[in-house]
Amino acid sequence: MDQSQLLRGTLDAAVLAVVSERDGYGYDVLRRLRDAGLTEVADASVYGTLRRLYKNGSLITYSVASDEGPHRRYYGINDAGRDQLESARATWSEFNESFSRLLGIGSKIGSATGVDLELEMNT
């Protein structure tokens, strides 16, 4: 599975996390996501996500004049966005723990019946 497939369900949290560090405009948020290692994130997905998070009430927005072109539309996180980010962190943490255990080579998973299954991953 490539990174772009994994990103589809997690872009909300990634964008909220970036904006929670400091306010940013579309292209700036995109570059910061890429700098953080999400190199395959699609430009358009980020812009669409920002607009949706704003429409859903998780972000605020304001315009700032720019010397380099049209006004920049900055986004900042609000309380609803922080709650959503906190919820995403908890969900991700739980998912990450389960999935890491599942993918861990040679790790054992205890089943409800007490039978241990050993996962053998081909690398």
Binding site: Y27, D43, A44, L50, R51, S66, G69
Partner: protein
């Protein structure tokens, strides 16, 4: 890449995206485009390569733009076209129907007069009427036919179409009967 060339490229790319988002409510579409425009102009100033090489085709870009948001739905104010148009729609949208319609519309009043005369003749054949009443019947038939004709130009009605077809079929019969009467009178 010169500034003007870059601007033109962004303009063309934005126009293509706008076309792809044509089904969105105008407010959502302009909102997304405004967001995209500022970013495209900035990225064109700093990044190398053409927009398509960096961002993919406008079709793909528009699709990715919609995907994360609540922008996938078409404007509810614009009802979706039926998957299979009805027989009436198929006939009225056919190019040949348009030709017939263009030809028929200016001649329609003439048809209203003809059908009134045919209707009056048929009634006169069934019910023997004195001359004055026949004249009044003809005047009444023309008035009714014209009124129905004016209404049907605004709103098509199945029964008017059926009546027209019936009268059209009766026209040769009426002509023969009239011809026989005239030759009989002579």
């Amino acid at each position: 890449m010169t500034a003007t060339h870059a601007d033109n490229e962004v303009d063309t790319y934005l126009a293509a995206i706008r076309e792809q988002l044509a089904d969105l409510p105008p407010a959502d579409r302009e909102d997304l485009l405004e967001e995209v425009e500022a970013s495209l102009r900035e990225s064109s100033n700093t990044d190398t390569g053409t927009l398509e090489s960096r961002l993919g085709t406008p079709v793909r870009f528009a699709s990715e733009l919609r995907a994360p948001g609540d922008f996938a739905e078409a404007d509810p104010a614009q009802p979706a076209a039926p998957a299979t148009p009805g027989l009436r729609d198929r006939i009225t949208s056919h190019p040949r129907f348009r030709v017939v319609q263009d030809w028929y519309t200016p001649l329609a009043p003439m048809w209203w007069l003809v059908r009134a005369v045919v209707g009056a003749v048929i009634v006169r054949m069934v019910v023997p009427l004195p001359g004055l009443l026949t004249f009044l019947l003809l005047v009444a038939a023309i008035a009714v036919s014209t009124r129905v004709g004016l209404r049907s130009t605004r709103r098509h009605s199945h029964w008017i179409v059926a009546l027209d077809v019936a009268l059209l079929l009766a026209l040769p019969v009426a002509a023969v009967v009239l011809g026989t009467r005239v030759s009989g009178d002579n």
